[in-house]
């Protein structure tokens, strides 16, 4: 494939396709997510708030200019394709680059090199409270968060019922979000992210919150999404739920993709590796 003609950095190629029709058209061999040689570098600036005053002084006094003191490769040479209907679990230790990879897919970070192509809309459940406004009521937040995810007011209004149905928070709909408990908050976020029927659902450890009954229903809902050929990408340290939910595993270590394959062997390898590391 002639990838050399591709642009260096490319995110969504058709981000506006929400319709069910476009989804069927897209569900051929084209992968939903394609990462080619993606690396992401963070630069630790000595003084993160590098000031204009210092920039001018450095220039005038001919001092060494804004030297990036150290750089850190959060991701290195990641090659990845995710197709329709895949449930991908990402494992790896702390600081292995799991959340960074999710943020890259959610378009929050641009890649330092390589190409990222994400086809279809993404519902990211990466951090609590992303795209919510705690001053607004639960109902207003459904509309607000929907807008963040690219949905118009009428589109969201038609989904409000379903969201209430799932969260069971109908009676709190007029309450400002700041009075919600963290469990209620998470339920609302999860319900919106799944109700909008995204092509790609990204979840970072979110399933840990909420009671057992909710977790069961959340898993059900993810399976339902998958029935409509969506991709789910999950980061968790809970190996049991990964085994239950995912079909494919990715193991990240120090920003590199160590292993990619069916979930069971990957988790076994990963656990064996952690035990070995602990023993030595």
């Amino acid at each position: 494939m002639p990838y050399s003609s591709r642009k260096k950095t490319r995110w969504y190629s058709d981000c506006e396709s929400h319709g069910p029709g476009s989804r069927n058209r897209a569900s051929s061999a084209v992968p939903l997510i394609e990462l080619r040689d993606v690396s992401l570098r963070f630069i630790n600036y000595a003084d993160k708030q590098y000031s204009f005053k210092r920039a001018v002084l450095d220039l005038v006094l001919r001092r060494a200019s804004p030297v990036p003191v150290s750089e850190f490769w959060a991701l290195r040479n990641i090659n990845l394709r995710i197709n329709h209907g895949e449930r991908v679990g990402i494992v790896g230790g702390n600081g292995a680059g799991k959340s960074t990879l999710l943020r890259l897919l959610a378009r929050i970070y641009p890649p330092s090199s390589g190409t990222v192509e994400v086809r279809g809309n993404v519902a990211p459940l990466i951090e609590m409270g992303a795209g919510f406004n705690i001053e607004l009521s639960g109902f207003d937040n459904i509309l607000y968060n929907g807008a963040m995810l690219g949905f118009t007011r009428p589109q969201m209004l038609s989904k409000v019922e379903g969201i209430h149905e799932f969260t069971g928070l109908r009676e709190f709909a007029d309450l400002p979000l700041k009075y919600y408990s963290s469990g209620m908050y998470m339920r609302l976020a999860f319900a919106i992210a799944t109700e909008i029927d995204p092509e790609i659902l990204i979840i970072d450890e979110a399933l840990g919150v909420g009671d057992a009954a909710f977790q069961e229903r959340a898993k059900d809902r993810i399976f339902k999404l998958l029935g409509r050929s969506h991709a789910v990408i999950l980061v968790s340290h809970d190996m049991n739920s990964l085994r239950q939910l995912c079909t494919r595993g990715l193991w990240l270590r120090q920003g590199q993709l160590v292993a990619d394959g069916p979930i069971e062997p990957i988790i076994d390898q990963y656990l064996a590796w952690t035990h070995a590391a602990k023993a030595s």
Partner: protein, 287 residues
């Protein structure tokens, strides 16, 4: 089992040569993307604006009154102090109003936009939002203030000689150009302040100086003809003169003034957009 290691991945060493897609296509791509993304994120802008206005106006019945009180007191003091100095200007409060209200839109927008990216750090680091949304929302909030205070102050100044005139139908065009000019400046300042956090202070001082260099408190014509050309170096001068012509003098501005205003507004918008978009991706790393 396609268990692969990173070393076995196909090494495409072509990517250093790839990042030269040619500037025109890059910018066309950026413009096209904004044309798709900004309407999509319009509800977010709408929400940012309406929420700010609601906090400002809905919590108290007198909310709107308070926002008017500030410019009103300011104008009362200024016209009291300076009407002695500038005796030559008839209906001095109206003259002051015609220049001061647009100016406070400009300086308010630019100063707020300086902080708009940093203030929305929590959002930018958590979810994808086109960053153009934040300056646009600030500008719209200030635009609402501008329109409301223009309308109501005009009515309040009726006893002091404010009269509607036919040329005022061109006021929307003047405001539109002024908004474009302000947006361009705001985008430059927003970008600069995200990378150099002390730019905001500099902007405040700069605007203070610029305010006195622009004929708002005084008339440019009161200066010796030999030094008049200095005003022409000031891009804000052309816009303020448009407002003076339309609101204070009630006359049709010259065609050349319109042309210059259009050129300056478009140049400001173009430069601001180019600077902002070229740095947009890097902003998240500097928050």
């Amino acid at each position: 089992m396609d268990v692969c290691t990173s070393s076995s991945t196909p090494q495409t060493e072509t990517f250093p040569s790839a990042p030269a897609p040619g500037p025109p296509s890059l910018w066309r791509k950026r413009l096209l993307e904004d044309r798709v993304q900004l309407p999509r994120f319009w509800p977010v802008i709408h929400n940012l604006v309406s929420q700010e206005l609601r906090v400002r106006y809905q919590r108290s019945v007198l909310g709107f009154f308070w926002t008017l009180l500030n410019p009103l007191l300011m104008m009362a003091i200024l016209s009291w102090v300076f009407s002695v100095l500038f005796r030559g200007i008839a209906n001095y409060p109206v003259y002051l109003f015609a220049g001061l209200v647009p100016w406070s839109f400009l300086s308010g927008s630019v100063n707020e936009c300086a902080l708009c990216i940093i203030a929305n750090e929590a959002l930018i680091r958590k979810i994808f939002v086109p960053k153009l949304v934040f300056p646009l929302a600030r500008i719209l909030i200030n635009l609402v203030t501008l329109l409301l205070s223009m309308g109501s102050l005009f009515l309040l100044l009726w006893p002091l000689g404010a009269r509607p005139s036919l040329p005022m139908i061109l006021l929307p065009a003047a405001i539109l150009l002024f908004v474009a000019f302000t947006l361009g400046l705001s985008l430059i300042v927003a970008t600069a302040n995200t990378f150099y956090r002390d730019c905001g202070h500099l902007v405040t001082v700069f605007f203070q100086a610029w305010y006195f260099a622009t004929p708002i408190l005084y008339r440019a014509e009161d200066f010796p003809a030999a030094t008049q050309w200095r005003f022409r170096l000031n891009p804000a001068y052309y816009f303020i003169e448009l407002f003076h012509d339309l609101v204070y003098f009630g006359k049709w501005p010259q065609f050349s003034s319109w042309l210059l205003a259009i050129v300056i507004a478009l140049a400001s918008l173009g430069i601001g957009y180019a600077i902002f978009k070229s740095q947009e991706d890097k902003m998240v790393f500097r928050l």
